[in-house]
Assembly symmetry: C2
Homo-oligomer: 152 residues x 2
């Protein structure tokens, strides 16, 4: 269980990501809350996040899955190594491959919830599967192969 | 060969997409030029399109692949049906599944070029494969299964 979003533990100088960086003024500020078993993110789309009229843009949904999967992999790895989030050496991942399946249209006025789990964890990579809900409707699925990198 | 971006032929009321809608003031304005064989898009990242410092955000790269693949599928289908782009009934697609493979980091100061081809076209769907170049370096690959929809 992590008390604040895992992104708040990312190093100051790398926290500029358009998706999840707290230091990107134009970013989406995606936040991943790790509950010990899964990563949970909530997001409220803005009107300009539209794809077809009335629906959320698929590229935005892919962005949510991207950053939230990396956040989930990071939090899960700190836990697997029995370490406090943000402790040195920092744990970091990059996205190797991302697959997004759009099951249903996602209404722009829906509250979005992403739930992610790590299904495979090795010293070199993590596989993260995500379900994105629009309200309580399953709308999108994601799978990310996250590749571990050296941050420090 | 299409004389202007295929997105310029999208119906006025649906051209609000955050990725490629000409009527979205906050959008990326992705443009797909169809040359008769492939769709070509060029994009210059802005400083806030960063992921890790100095690199383009993966979610933005996925967005480019998303809209450009749909644009390519649309242009290719008009051609396959021997029709002028934008002619009635309008041809439209939505993204069913998108897979993005990040081969190399994409520098934020690189000029990006996407080249997409339709590898399978049926009345119900198109499969579009994309290579994204940073300068002349192959950096990202995409595959989109585009599902045909009725727009009119």
């Amino acid at each position: 269980m992590v008390d604040k979003p895992i992104q708040d533990y990312y190093p100051e100088e790398t926290a500029v990501c358009m998706g999840c960086g707290r230091n990107n003024a134009h970013g989406l500020h995606i936040q991943t809350f790790w509950d010990g078993e899964e990563g949970v993110a909530r997001f409220t789309p803005q009107p300009h996040h539209t794809g077809y009229p009335g629906l959320v843009y698929g590229g935005l949904l892919a962005s949510l899955i991207d950053c939230h999967s990396i956040g989930t992999a990071t939090a899960a790895t700190y836990q697997a190594e029995g370490r406090a989030p943000g402790s040195e050496p920092q744990i970091g991942y990059v996205t190797g491959t991302m697959t997004v399946t759009y099951l249903k249209p996602t209404p722009i006025d829906a509250a979005l919830t992403l739930r992610s789990r790590v299904t495979e964890l090795t010293p070199r990579k993590a596989i993260v599967v995500t379900t994105l809900y629009a309200g309580d409707q399953e709308a999108v699925r994601g799978e990310v192969i996250a590749v571990r990198m050296k941050l420090t």
